[in-house]
């Protein structure tokens, strides 16, 4: 992309905000990676392909709940946006199967939620 000006900035902002999409954010900071975020991310990507799920999986920074890493935040339309903590391969599979595809929250793994 070419050099942008102030006007382009506004246009870019509009382009990237807007529609409500399903997404999953995986905490990818040093602490998250150390706790196993890569494996969780890979599992999520693989499972989403398997289920052909309509969800965007993103790598993000650290939200600050270090003791609960690896941390995964899940937003599915018409459901509360929640953080799953201490996620491993098994839980990642469940998140995709139950939460994203089955619209059911996974028991015992939710650590917090985003209120907005």
């Amino acid at each position: 992309m070419a050099k942008i000006t102030r006007k382009d900035l506004e246009a870019l902002k509009q382009k990237h905000t807007g529609e409500d999409r399903n997404w999953i954010r995986v905490g990818f900071s040093t602490c998250g990676i150390a706790a196993g975020a890569q494996e969780v991310y890979d599992t999520l990507v693989e499972e989403s392909r398997k289920h052909n799920a309509d969800v965007e999986i993103k790598k993000c920074g650290c939200v600050g709940m270090c003791s609960a890493e690896p941390l995964v935040e899940v937003h599915v339309k018409n459901m509360p946006t929640v953080f799953y903590g201490k996620v491993d391969k098994e839980v990642a599979t469940k998140i995709m199967e139950k939460h994203v595809c089955g619209k059911m929250l996974v028991n015992d793994r939710i650590y917090d939620m985003r209120l907005s």
């Binding site: 992309m1 070419a2 050099k3 942008i4 000006t5 102030r6 900035l9 870019l12 902002k13 990237h16 905000t17 954010r25 905490g27 990818f28 900071s29 040093t30 602490c31 990676i33 993103k58 790598k59 993000c60 920074g61 650290c62 939200v63 600050g64 709940m65 270090c66 003791s67 609960a68 941390l71 935040e73 018409n78 459901m79 509360p80 903590g85 201490k86 619209k103 059911m104 929250l105 996974v106 028991n107 015992d108 793994r109 939710i110 650590y111 917090d112 939620m113 209120l115």
Partner: protein, 579 residues
Amino acid sequence: MAKTVFVKDTAITGKDRTRDFYGFFLGGLREKGLENDVQLVRVADIGVYGQGMVVRVLPEDFLYVNVQDSDIPAVITESVIGGKPIKDKLFTQASKQARIVLRNCGVIDPESIEDYIARDGYQALAKVLGEYTPEKTAQEIKASGLRGRGGAGFPTGMKWEITRKAPGDQKYMICNGDEGDPGAYMDRSVLEGDPHSVVEGMIIGGYAIGASKGYFYIRAEYPLAIARIEKAIEQCRKHGILGEGILGSSFNFDLEIRLGAGAFVCGEETALIASIEGKRGYPSPRPPFPSIKGLWGKPTCINNVETLANIPVIILKGGSWFAGIGTEGSKGTKVFAVTGKVKNSGLVEVPMGTTIEDIVYGICGGALSGKSVKAIQTGGPSGGVIPKEYFQTKVDYESLQKMGSIMGSGGMIVMDEDDCMADIAKFYLGFCVDESCGKCAPCRIGGTQMLRLLKKVTDGEGTRKDLDQLEQISFAMQKASLCGLGQTAPNPVLSTLHYYRSEYEAHVDKKKCPACKCEKLIRFLIMSEKCVKCGMCFKACPVGAISGNRESGYLIDQTKCVRCGQCFEVCKPRAISRS
């Protein structure tokens, strides 16, 4: 949003009743035929502690605490079905975090500039370049009352103004990312989670002070942070946000990264400058301050990562908005890295003036199970401890200083009953002795002597005179050291001596460590009345200090014992005492 109910028992008594409670609640929902319409979820944590059973009803977000089984029918009919709150049970969370610095951390992809732009990224820069003069920019920051988040708390706007007014054709902007405090990692998280906001803060700063060049000085121990800042700079150059004619204006600015190499003293401004110049990180006497004579002798403004991350928000929302948050002398929020013996360690961003109690108990859930919190330590090796009795203290620059500690960069270490204060002081001092650059004598010699005295105390060989001497050397170091490292190095010793003198005295008078931490002063004994003669301790002892057999029982030979504590750990009936 579909009806959802979260339940959590944070185990006031240590007993987990969630399963029963969950069952009851599910039963209640079934009675009303709602089990398919309402999702009932058992959660691992809900952010409320020591309040028994907690129920959160969504989407209305009613939060109930101390819920009894008998309350369930009312919660279901009133709130779940009726959508109305039960007023007398409703709980409002005392302390909410306020996210300014961490606004984008965990929300955006740090490697995507588009993500940052979508969250108002570089709007502040555009505003400044389009509408503000450099003077006005510094004015706005001055009006906000923002103070440096690196530790000392110098007003940022004033620093910018001084650097702008300093004579010189070439000026520099430096971001201090040499987060050396052990136990603090706010800056790493910001650099890794939201690099563009720091870059934007740097460009705005550069515009305000009239610099055309800026440096990121980042610890080499943070490879991911370095990689993400590198990527952010590259993206900015590509998009014309760095380089010549930024965003179509006439302002030119570029950034470069310089790596630290594992020297704590380089967090000090003058030492940091020496390090960027490619030399040993020796501090130099101030004045002249870097704002007048800094990098390569030119006026230089050094800001901390967290300080810079605040800048774009202040510009967008206005200085007076920011000044409305916090206390009289300390504005805005502060990020703390709460670690140590605490249930939920992590990053916490709170408005200045929040009490320590709210942070440690309210947000982080208090001590680890079965223990109680003894004190916190802030400010790393330059700070001091604050005992539990003073947890009503508000966190701001002045209050913490009054308590004998400092705000520091934002480490908050929670200590519990198992931590010995003399040992903590020794740990911090040991750190400063290791990291002392050796240029000035008070720090080099004073530190070493203090460490020797502390070692004597924790080994049980100290006297009262040693304690007095510790204080004397501390005062000398504070007065005579060249830079901040030496001047503040005695703080942990002085503050622990102030609040926990009796603990030190137990070490020197009774030769005892009340927290059972100092190895040389611990003694392990087998209590024969509790001993089941299983022989586990005999097997576990690595030095053969335990003798006996399964008939006669076992004995620890104190002369051979190395106090490793392995016998204590393996003893199932807890028949070994530690004192």
